[in-house]
């Protein structure tokens, strides 16, 4: 192969820089001092995955406590600490920064850039995240927070939560918030300024579209929560009374500020996942994405509406009916662009030629459970019905369908899809599929019955439930499911750990994919690309493969009936 003329070699090899042999072991100082977006991306992914496993262990402890009625495995104090740690970890230390990690690694590669726009700022984002997590978790050596991940005042005030754990929570929100904000500015600047020649907005990969909108939402939402937790901090320690009803403050103000951040946060967590799915489906269906423009536009519309639905978390607070009606309708509206995405994804699979690899399993698994989460979201948006469902296990089930079934499944789809690019090694397919099935079955066993538990009257965040209230069986099923889910995640961890060193060599483009990250070696060299090709469609790699086939006469892929180069 080395002797063939450049034009006849498999494409990515032509373009990728021949890297001088890397030292077999990189020194740890290189990781600490790095400003390379790929290394920072790996740091992000490894760190956040570690937090994911910690959060998962917390979830299993919660499920063990609820495994039987009137259980005394955990004290109420520890139970409250565990669900506070679990929720905070999964949101602030796993899903949001994991998306930042994937975006860090792949946005510059997908748009053909050398690095992020501000590499040192990028490093700072990561270190702020790590320190935010460490500050937060150091509270377990003293007294962790126990007011829940949304820390409603007055419960989170100094009077009712005197421990420093609540302050650790505030610092976590601040540090990870600044981290995300800097990251968002960096993504925005990178995507707007550093795209490959010819990559107009209509040819931007859908994952990059999602990250662009993710960045905008972060910039919109984070200052609000930063202000809110600062007010909470001054209320706790410096004598202000923003949220203190005995001094004319308002506990309801906290709810508004928190959810004005909290609901866009939901879309901050799920939009990048939508982007990952929009990348994976066309590759494994061997077919262009159906309705590129509609998917990109729906991302923008979802982000716009995401800022207008926050009070649907507050349907049981004293608010006028007209406000309830407004937030019901705005929440309904957001179902339309979300539905459009789901229809487009299914249409992408339709009449394709599906390569049943693990990333596609996770992608299809995601769609099937996300539909359930979307539908239960409609129940909750109807405010009279929400009066019954609010703050029950129905809500717990709903948001786990959206965030566990949604964000986590898309993250796993993305990890399985991009692992060969990051490490240069393939993951084990049998192990990956086994992991998927354990996760998929375990997930549904855990969370489907929680709808019933909520409808039977089980509120959230109770450390015990009585024996003869009809809740025992639901909770036992749920606990068993949680462990099946845990086994599934463990299988993936084993898969990642084994394949880093021992997986089959991936080569530059193992999936015959569509976007530019596959146009370089796996793993990519420090400079990413020696030559950046001119982008002529939303699927530049497909164009390049076709061009090489024409020039070399060697077919790498089944010929398409009608070549559509300029999509």
């Amino acid at each position: 192969m080395a002797t063939t003329a450049p034009a006849l070699r498999p494409v990515p090899q032509v373009i990728a820089h021949e890297v001088a042999a890397r030292p077999r072991r990189t020194r740890w100082t290189e990781w600490i001092a790095t400003t390379d977006h790929k290394r920072i991306g790996i740091l992000y992914m490894v760190t956040t995955f570690a937090f994911f496993l910690i959060g998962g262990v917390e979830a299993l402890l919660i499920r063990l406590q609820l495994g039987e009625p009137n259980n005394n495995f955990l004290t109420p104090e520890h139970y409250n600490e565990l669900f506070t740690l679990h929720g905070t970890t999964m949101i602030f230390l796993f899903v949001v920064p994991m998306m930042a990690g994937l975006a860090n690694y792949f946005v510059p590669l997908m748009i053909g850039a050398r690095d992020m726009a501000f590499p040192r700022l990028n490093a700072m984002s990561y270190w702020l995240l790590l320190f935010g997590g460490l500050v937060f978790y150091s509270s377990v050596f003293w007294q962790p927070p126990e007011a829940g991940w949304f820390s409603y005042t007055p419960l989170s005030s100094i009077l009712y939560s005197p421990s420093g754990g609540q302050d650790a929570w505030i610092y976590l929100v601040h540090l990870t918030g600044i981290s995300s904000l800097l990251g968002a500015i960096n993504f925005y600047a990178t995507i707007v300024n550093m795209r490959a020649p010819g990559m107009s907005w209509g040819r931007l990969p859908l994952f990059v579209w999602a990250i662009l909108i993710y960045a905008l939402l972060l910039i919109l939402a984070l200052p609000v929560i930063a202000a809110a937790v600062t007010m909470l901090l001054t209320d706790r320690h410096f004598g202000t009374h923003f949220f203190d009803p005995t001094q004319g403050g308002s506990p309801l103000l906290w709810q508004h500020l928190f959810w004005f951040f909290g609901h866009p946060e939901v879309y901050i967590m799920i939009l990048p996942g939508f982007g990952i799915i929009s990348e994976i489906l066309p590759v494994f269906a061997r077919k262009p994405i159906f309705g590129y423009k509609a998917i990109a536009a729906s991302t923008v519309v979802i982000a716009f509406l995401a800022a207008l639905v926050w009070a649907h978390h507050m349907f049981t607070t004293p608010v006028p009916t007209v406000v309830l009606g407004f937030f019901m309708l705005s929440s309904f509206l957001i179902a339309v662009p979300t539905g459009v995405k789901i229809f487009n994804w299914i249409a992408t699979l339709w009449r394709g030629s599906l390569v049943m690899a693990t990333p596609l399993y996770f992608a299809v698994g995601f769609i099937s459970v996300f539909v359930v989460g979307g539908i239960t979201g409609i129940f909750l948006a109807v405010f009279p019905v929400d009066w019954q469902l609010n703050d029950t296990y129905f809500v717990v089930a709903h948001f786990h369908y959206v965030l566990m079934g949604g964000a986590v499944f898309t993250i796993f789809a993305g990890l399985y899809y991009w692992f060969p690019k990051i490490t240069g090694r393939m993951l084990s397919e049998p192990l990956g599929k086994a992991s998927f099935w354990f996760m998929f079955v375990g997930f549904n066993v855990t969370f489907l019955v929680q709808h019933a538990a909520g409808l039977s009257g089980m509120p959230r965040r109770v450390y015990q439930y009585p024996a003869h209230a009809g809740l025992t069986v639901y909770n036992q099923i749920s606990t068993v499911g949680a462990f099946i889910l845990g086994i599934g995640i463990l299988l993936s961890v084993v898969n990642f750990a084994r394949s880093v060193k021992r997986g089959a060599l991936a080569g530059p483009d193992p999936w015959k994919a569509n976007t530019l990250e596959w146009f370089t070696t796996s793993p990519p060299p420090v400079n990413n690309f020696d030559v950046v090709p001119r982008v002529r469609s939303v699927e530049p790699m497909k164009d390049i493969r076709r061009q090489v086939e024409r020039q070399s006469g060697i077919e790498h892929d089944a010929p398409a009936p009608r070549p559509t180069v300029n999509a």
Partner: protein, 281 residues
């Protein structure tokens, strides 16, 4: 598929599934209305679920890669895309319309029945800030949440501290067939009032008033619920129950409760006097 939906709806219509796939109901008209609104959404949801998951499963099984299969290189279909966007929007317009039609009987309390509590003891009050039945006659009970117990004050206007009126903790006693309006507040942290068969929940927020109502038809019933907003370590133990009695029993209970409170107060006063006398207090 239509047959499936019909079969499912027949199954769901039976009340045996209340609490399994439908919310609890049966204790009050608003809970029943919420439950029936929920069922309408559920039927539509089942159809949407079956169509979408069906299309997904069909594509995954039907279009797997095999020898000779070539993926259709389709980039989109504007007509189809507009059609499903409009279809999704239409479903939501229907849902919104149904919700607003159903909202009246959920939000607005009806009159008490003829066999309900009639005006006596001055407990039937009228006030502009509370939800009020058309004839303005209702029984108002003030509900106060605090860590970790619910307190009920009977026959007060709920405007500040009420002295000399009966109250109870944890168990609320109400007359059947009478429109009971709850004036809900909290004194420390946020709580949430919820007795599932008696309707939806309302948050009890310190510094705010929140209202709900119910009208229980059957004397002798006992409805259980608990605080539904995290309020601290013993949140799970902050239970509540509502005992429905006949109007006569209610009046008798109220008088007895008044006596019990007076006796307990007298006892406490006597104890205080004694302790003060011996210099222990």
């Amino acid at each position: 598929m239509l047959a499936l939906a019909t079969a499912l709806s027949l199954v769901l219509a039976s009340s045996a599934f209340a609490g399994f796939i439908t919310p609890e109901s049966g204790g009050s008209p608003n809970a029943d209305q919420i439950s029936s609104l929920y069922k309408i959404i559920l039927y539509i949801a089942i159809v949407v679920f079956v169509v979408v998951e069906g299309a997904l499963l069909y594509s995954v099984f039907r279009f797997r890669a095999r020898k000779g299969r070539v993926a259709a290189q389709i980039h989109g279909n504007t007509r189809l895309e507009v059609a499903w966007t409009v279809a999704a929007a239409l479903i939501l317009v229907v849902l919104a319309t149904i919700t607003f039609v159903k909202l009246g009987p959920i939000k607005n309390p009806p009159n008490s029945d003829a066999n309900g509590l009639t005006a006596d003891d001055g407990v039937l009050t009228a006030s502009a800030s509370l939800p009020t039945p058309p004839n303005g006659r209702k029984l108002t009970i003030c509900v106060t949440g605090r860590q970790y117990i619910w307190r009920y004050t009977y026959g007060s206007t709920c405007q500040g501290n009420a002295f000399g009126v009966p109250y109870s903790y944890q168990e609320m006693v109400v007359p059947a067939n009478t429109t009971v309006v709850l004036d809900v507040e909290a004194t420390d942290v946020i709580h949430s009032w919820w007795i599932p068969p008696l309707g939806g929940k309302v948050q009890a927020i310190p510094g705010y008033k929140n209202y709900t109502w119910f009208k229980a038809p059957t004397p002798g019933k006992l409805y259980k619920g608990q605080c539904a907003e995290l309020c601290g370590r013993n949140h799970a133990d902050m239970t509540a129950q509502v005992r429905v009695v006949t109007p006569d029993q209610y009046t008798a209970w109220l008088a007895a409760q008044k006596r019990r409170i007076a006796a307990a107060n007298a006892q406490a006063l006597a104890l205080k006097k004694q302790l003060t006398q011996f210099g222990d207090l």
